[in-house]
Amino acid sequence: MEQKKQIIDRFKNARSDAVQELNRLKKEGAKIAGYYCTYTPTEIILAAGAVPLRLCNSSDQYVQEGEVHLPRNLCAIVKSSFGEAVSGKSPYFEAADLVVGETTCDGKKKMYEYLRELKPTHIMQLPQKNTGHEESLLWINEMRRLKSRLEQEFEVDITIAKLKDAIKQKNSQRLAVKEFYEDWRAHPGVLMSSEAYSILGNFDYRLDREKALEDLYAMIRHIKSGPPDADVKEYDNSPRILLTGCLLGEKMTGIINIIEKAGGNIVCVETCDWLKGTGGLVNEDMEPFSAIAEKYLRIPCPVMSPNHNRMELVARLIDDYQVDGVIDFVLRACLTYSVETVPLRRLVKDKKHTGYMSLETNLAHSESGQLNTRVSAFIEMLSI
């Protein structure tokens, strides 16, 4: 069996490898649809025969470029994502033939307006509530609008059969991800949380989809049968941690390391690149546009008001994973997540009698010392 490290590295290198992959795909004439958010129904992009490329940039790499045009008091994702686009230096953004965005949070929604000046852009109108008949209709209509735009832009026909295939393909990927993290939890001692995160956090960014899926299954086999790794800490008595909050991307690995070093056992991650995104399947028996719309509208994001789905999900995860403490990450100036710390704290502390900490960050390197201190204090408190 291939070394686990080699497999993990392929996930870690997803973004840099994607550059070569993009070149190859472009040469072959493939169409690339860039997108930012978990709400983008990538099934429809796949059904158009195009390549969905996630562009959301949650590193601080392009923040400065972004601040030339956007206000400083905005979340790092919005600034960095726009900075990347406007810099003209990004192989990812440059590769995109069409960019797809949604009216999620205020910062992103308004930032997307400026993307129109750089690329053909399609903005989907996301309702702000995830229940209700009119909301469903509006969102289903947006699925069809995206389909028409893709057809027009890429000169293709998106048939029902192609859509159904794409739904099946994505569902099988979601199931693989689910199997992976369940096995990982069932066999502690084989993979560190940071390693598991490297795999899941980068899964969507890999453009060699089939190989990525193969790698995921290879990891599953490894977890099930592989020998315990001496480097993986025994977590018997360590506090069990649930991570939630804003998408932190690459930065998350660093934070996970901090938590692991402080003695925290991360048992579950409820962010966009993990459970929030992969949870739930698209119903394969329904009319495809309604089925896709239904799955995506359920996403428990705080842009929804009210956002009962997130509260219910966190409550359930606390029980399922016997969580001792919840760490909630909020990017500075992210208003929806930030205000939602209030009900979340109430739920976790008062109803679930579980530890809760919210941490604000702007992804700057200079913050890691402070994060370290606060995380350590929290884990220590949970350990007593």
Partner: protein, 381 residues
């Protein structure tokens, strides 16, 4: 005729409104608290209730709000929430029901807490005024608003009642438009600071018939005085348009600073100001269609793209012969803040200088703005 006493009467409307609201309440009238213009006044008052404006405009309750809400949030939201939880706002206290809209992220999430304090109806908004499906969605929210009012206030709202209110509101709009449009005169007959007193006051006057009468009288008196005595505003004053996030009482000092430094505000493009008075609502046919058609055009930055606002700014610059545009942004108001780039482009295309100011409600930050505003006005020379 000296119009100062009439003007002062408007300035006192908010305070007097407290007492009047209490009286009406004692007579059995229902009171509905509103925060934003997307929920049509016409539907709310067709229920027979009076609508009171709850948007927090001063910084006094911000520390209370910050006990619950993040500090890095727009002062208008914190102030509104602070007034609600401290019981310091009599209008909030009198409200039988609250109406909120999912305009911006901060407000939308804050409203989730308000429903613990009072019966609350949230109106969900479309995000793109021009997209297919938005009209239908917004219209259905109008119907839901009507149904929520009927249920909560235990009353029936007929189409005719809404049509009556549409007519009344149209008359009010027309009276106010005639008042604002005095800003087009050169020099304008009154300062923007005084003009704004009237704009604000109308938000707190329940008796629209009397209000309309007073606005008409005031407008005529001002015009008469102008003919006879000319204007107190020098002809050399730089003609300024103010736009951006809603202005609170605390930010009205910005207007004072502009006018103390050689400018005169001739046009307010903020919400509840001119842009709200521009078009009337169609008085015949289905009232929900009429209201949807009109209100979907609100040029608020929470809409994406908000082309309507850009068109209006461009149009007003010409109509009011504007010499400079001041865009006032409340701290952490992401939608208006990100939109400043677009506004700036529109203004600069007209070869007019543009100034963007960011402020919370604190008097310190406003003080610091004086230098920038003075420099801006100087530059217009």
């Amino acid at each position: 005729m000296d119009f100062t006493p009439m003007l002062n009467e408007f300035a006192e409307a908010r305070q007097n409104g407290f007492i009047l609201t209490k009286e009406l309440k004692d007579q059995g009238k229902k009171v509905v608290g509103v925060y934003c213009g997307f929920a049509p006044w016409e539907i709310i008052t067709a229920s027979g209730a009076i609508a009171v404006w709850l948007c927090g405009m001063s910084d006094t309750t911000i520390p209370d709000a910050e006990q619950h809400l993040p500090a890095n949030l727009c002062p208008l939201i914190k102030s509104s929430y602070g007034f609600a939880i401290t019981g310091k706002c009599p209008y909030f206290y009198f409200s039988d029901m609250l109406i909120g809209e999912t305009t911006c992220d901060g407000k939308k999430k804050m409203y989730e807490f308000l429903s613990d304090l009072k019966p609350m109806h949230i109106m969900h908004l479309h995000q793109n005024p021009k997209a297919e499906g938005s009209y239908r969605y917004y219209r259905s929210e109008m119907v839901k608003l009507k149904e929520a009012l009927e249920k909560e206030l235990d009353i029936e709202i007929t189409d005719d009642a809404i049509r009556d209110r549409i007519k009344l509101r149209n008359r009010e709009r027309k009276a106010l438009r005639n008042f604002y449009e005095m800003g087009k005169m050169v020099p304008p007959p009154i300062y923007g600071f005084d003009m704004r007193k009237v704009i604000q006051a109308t938000l707190f006057i329940a008796d629209k018939e009397t209000e309309i009468e007073k606005v008409v009288k005031l407008t005529n008196a001002i015009k008469e005085d102008y003919e006879k005595n000319g204007s107190a505003v020098p002809a050399t004053a730089k003609r300024i348009m103010v736009t951006g996030s809603p202005l609170g009482d605390a930010t009205e000092n910005i207007i004072k600073i502009i006018e103390d430094n050689g400018g005169v505000v001739v046009c307010f493009e903020n919400c509840a100001a001119i842009k709200d008075k521009e078009d009337g609502v169609q008085e015949t046919g289905d009232p929900f269609d009429a209201l949807t058609t009109r209100y979907i055009k609100s040029g608020c930055a929470c809409m994406s793209p908000n082309d309507h606002r850009m068109d209006m700014i461009s149009h007003y610059i010409d109509e009011y012969m504007v010499d400079g545009v001041v865009d006032v942004i409340l701290q952490t108001c992401h939608t208006y803040n990100v939109e400043t780039k677009r506004v700036k482009d529109v203004v600069n295309q007209k070869n007019i200088p543009y100034l963007n100011l960011e402020t919370d409600y604190s008097q310190e930050t406003i003080g610091q703005l004086t230098t920038r505003i003075a420099a801006f006005l100087e530059m217009i020379n």
